[in-house]
Symmetry: C2
Subunit: 107 residues, 2 copies
DNA sequence: TTTGTTTATCGTAATATTGCAATATAAAAA
DNA sequence: TTTTTATATTGCAATATTACGATAAACAAA
């Protein structure tokens, strides 16, 4: 065992779970908050900002990119990473949808 | 290694990452959506709803409860689980805060 | 007390994640 | 071309997660 039985859940449930998994690590939360904070869409500065080795940061960026949370643009030798507004909106909508349907029923 | 270096990140970043990790599995997304859907705060029916064995569901419920996403009330032999509105609001606010600060800068 | 019902815990196998040194790749600069 | 700079990939060890059978715990009903 060990592999999650994703085939038994809906495509939408698997997609949301993948998005959440991508931001389920403090380093990746920190990357998102850093990209939100900096004025320009700083690139490899993320490596300097985080207390992790360059290959580790590169791996985290890859995970965020693979689910569409960030986008990367090549600019010469460097790469410019930034947040994907569409995905952020999707996450926001998911929880506002929950809040709207959450009429206190019990407990 | 394999253990994430959570001590190097802020308390808030670790807390958000923990919340996201709790919902980073399709079964746990399904539990949330089920609790949102059902009229009454159904309890062990979650086990019947999911394509997983009872101990597995129990473990997933424990993880959701440990980070405060759901609450559990003992009702005789059964236990009544329901969503925690405070935590849901916290998640909603996190992403609306991101959206509000997300002025398209680049990429 | 005994039985049935409901949920939790333990133990363990299969699999996934995290982190980094070493190395590779790619483009700019010299 | 050679060197430098920036980022990605590989390989591997340490650790975490997922799933479930077996079993325990807690309580109600008989």
């Amino acid at each position: 065992m060990g592999a999650s039985k994703s085939e038994f859940f809906s495509e939408q449930q698997n997609e949301m779970a993948s998005l959440f998994k991508a931001i389920s690590h403090p380093a990746r939360v920190a990357i998102i908050e850093y990209l939100l904070r900096v004025d320009s869409c700083i690139c490899g500065d993320i490596v300097n900002e985080l207390p992790l080795a360059q290959p580790t940061v590169s791996q985290h960026l890859k995970e965020l990119k693979s689910v569409g949370i960030i986008k990367g643009n090549i600019e010469g030798t460097a790469i410019c990473y930034c947040l994907n507004p569409d995905t952020m909106k999707k996450l926001e909508n998911y929880f506002s949808g929950i809040s709207n349907n959450l009429i206190m029923k019990c407990c």
